[in-house]
């Protein structure tokens, strides 16, 4: 009878002979890679050594209406608005989107409507824009990082689009999703956030006349680094609610989990209303630096849009619903 003796070492555990013979080179290469990685991280140019470039000027948009919702404050420059962007899909440095979004393809573009509504399915961007009157809305834009800008958005009320989708009575919230194409968006290759980026609004916030879908800037087609071809603007909320490059709109019954809340729920909530009285755990939100100014400004409740939106939150504890 033949009794097989089990092998002492599984073949999978035996080091490849080639690797063994070349072990010195292997160790050297591994160390070399580690050292190189560390060196790039430590010495590698951060922000400064790279030249950020303002967006090239795009096609002029026609038939833009002025709006009474516009602020009359001094506008931030095109250069500011197109080189200082938080758009993590194109890198976490402010100037990275201006360089890495340059060849981002925004045509053709499809927005998919889904969830608790009658008109579901994919829509071409042209169809989203069809029949909408574009308005110039000069809004105060307040980032959660304590800087702000005055931006002449071109867009139309989100409510116009929502009505078109015919949401059902079960639709209590709207959830938006950003494109998640790692071939075009180098930022997606690092798990900095859980991709794709998701944001949401309560139905009454979404239907509010101040809430707009943005398709342009300074009278021109929206530059890629600012969230082309279609982004959200909700001026009484912090910048991260202004989701960019929207590919999906979903009507839902339950409050969506927005990306930054998912990332750090103790720091970023669902509502994210601009509120000078409620500090970010790591910094005060009482003041802000307007880009281009030295002395800081006092941050206004609801970013100065309290008269229009405060009633949406009557009876709510804004300290808890930050």
């Amino acid at each position: 009878m033949l009794i097989k003796k089990p092998a002492d070492i599984k073949s999978s555990e035996i080091t490849d002979k080639k690797l063994y013979v070349n072990r010195r080179e292997f160790i050297q290469a591994a160390t070399g890679t580690a050292v190189a990685a560390a060196a790039t991280g430590v010495l590698g140019s951060e922000a400064l050594l790279r030249a950020s470039t303002p967006a090239p000027h795009g096609r002029k948009l026609e038939g833009i209406k002025k709006s009474t919702f516009s602020s009359d404050e001094k506008l931030n420059k095109w250069e500011d608005i197109t080189t200082y962007n938080n758009y993590y899909e194109f890198g976490t440095d402010k100037d990275e989107p201006s360089m890495l979004a340059r060849n981002f393809k925004t045509t053709p573009w499809t927005v998919t409507v889904d969830g608790e509504c009658a008109k579901k399915g994919p829509m071409n961007l042209e169809d989203v824009l069809k029949g909408k009157t574009l308005e110039e809305r000069i809004y105060r834009h307040r980032c959660v990082e304590r800087w702000s800008m005055i931006i002449p958005w071109i867009g139309f009320p989100l409510s116009d689009f929502i009505k078109q989708c015919e949401p059902t009575s079960k639709a209590k919230f709207v959830e938006f999703t950003t494109l998640g194409d790692s071939k075009q968006m180098p930022g997606l290759r690092s798990p900095v956030l859980r991709w794709p980026y998701v944001e949401g609004l309560r139905m009454d916030e979404a239907m509010h006349p101040l809430t707009i879908l943005v398709a342009g800037l300074y009278g021109e087609v929206l530059p890629n680094q600012d969230g082309a071809p279609l982004r959200l603007a909700v001026p009484w909320k912090y910048g991260f609610k202004h989701i960019k490059s929207i590919v999906k709109v979903r009507f839902v019954e339950k409050q969506p989990l927005n990306t930054w809340q998912d990332q750090a729920a103790n720091e970023y909530g669902f509502y994210a209303n601009v509120n000078p009285a409620v500090d970010h755990p790591r910094w005060s939100q009482a003041t802000e630096r307007r880009i281009g100014e030295f002395l800081m400004r006092k941050t206004l409740m609801f970013n100065g849009y309290g008269d229009q939106v405060a009633s949406l939150y009557s009876g709510m504890d804004l300290r808890r619903n930050y």
């Binding site: 990685a37 991280g41 430590v42 922000a47 400064l48 402010k94 690092s190 956030l193 030295f294």
Partner: protein, 231 residues
């Protein structure tokens, strides 16, 4: 490698000194000519902070590099690297005080007034007390003060080599606190703090291994020893 003391003193040191000063010079130039981002004050704060960490890493790297390469004149650059860490750390602290605290004050009696001084002190103090990453950053800077004050040859003599060495181990704490400060302030992308953390950890581990004599210690120190004696 044989490099005469004269070359180190009159060529290498001035070159390294100027190179170390160049990031500050660049920041000043870029700031004045509008070559920073749309938020130049935030760039100044971030960059001076990052350069502080880089010089701390350089300071901590001198001894391990010297041991591994056996090139002893490296030690002559340690004080300079440490002082530049303090230099950039101080610039970082000052930018924070001016761009973050001073610029956020109210000026009820005008800018040039005693209330401004008082409010600024209060604002800085409260922030250091209230925000953990500021507390840690400020502490890190504070640890560099006695090290800078005792960096002269006269102070080394007065303290005595042993005590001086003991005091200057405080720089290990500076490195750790600096990394922690960076870590706690980033919003989501911790890759850079992580890199600095890894570098500081490796540099401190080198010392730990040397001291406690575990594991690879034998190999590393024997190698280093051989190289230093062969020279």
């Amino acid at each position: 490698m044989r490099i005469s003391d004269r070359v180190v003193r009159f060529v290498l040191k001035p070159v390294v000194f100027l190179a170390s000063l160049s990031p500050a010079a660049w920041l000043v130039w870029a700031g004045l000519t509008g070559n920073l981002s749309a938020n130049p004050l935030s760039d100044l704060t971030n960059e001076t902070g990052v350069w502080t960490l880089r010089f701390l890493c350089a300071t901590l790297a001198i001894t391990p590099l010297r041991r591994l390469t056996g090139w002893n004149p490296l030690i002559k650059f340690r004080r300079m690297a440490g002082l530049f860490a303090f230099f950039y750390g101080t610039l970082h602290f000052l930018t924070y005080v001016i761009a973050d605290r001073f610029a956020g004050l109210d000026f009820p009696n005008g800018i040039v007034a005693w209330t401004t001084v008082r409010n600024l002190a209060k604002s800085v103090g409260e922030d250091i007390y209230k925000r953990p990453y500021i507390t840690v950053g400020f502490t890190a800077w504070t640890t560099m003060v006695p090290l800078t004050a005792t960096s002269t040859a006269g102070m080394i003599r007065r303290l005595g080599g042993k005590q001086w060495n003991q005091l200057h181990r405080l720089v290990y704490a500076t490195g750790c606190l600096g990394v922690l400060h960076y870590w706690w302030l980033v919003k989501a992308d911790i890759r850079r703090p992580l890199t600095y953390g890894a570098v500081v950890a490796a540099l401190l581990a080198f010392r730990l291994i040397k001291r406690t004599g575990v594991g690879i210690r034998g190999a590393v120190s024997r190698l280093a020893w051989r190289r230093t004696t062969v020279e």
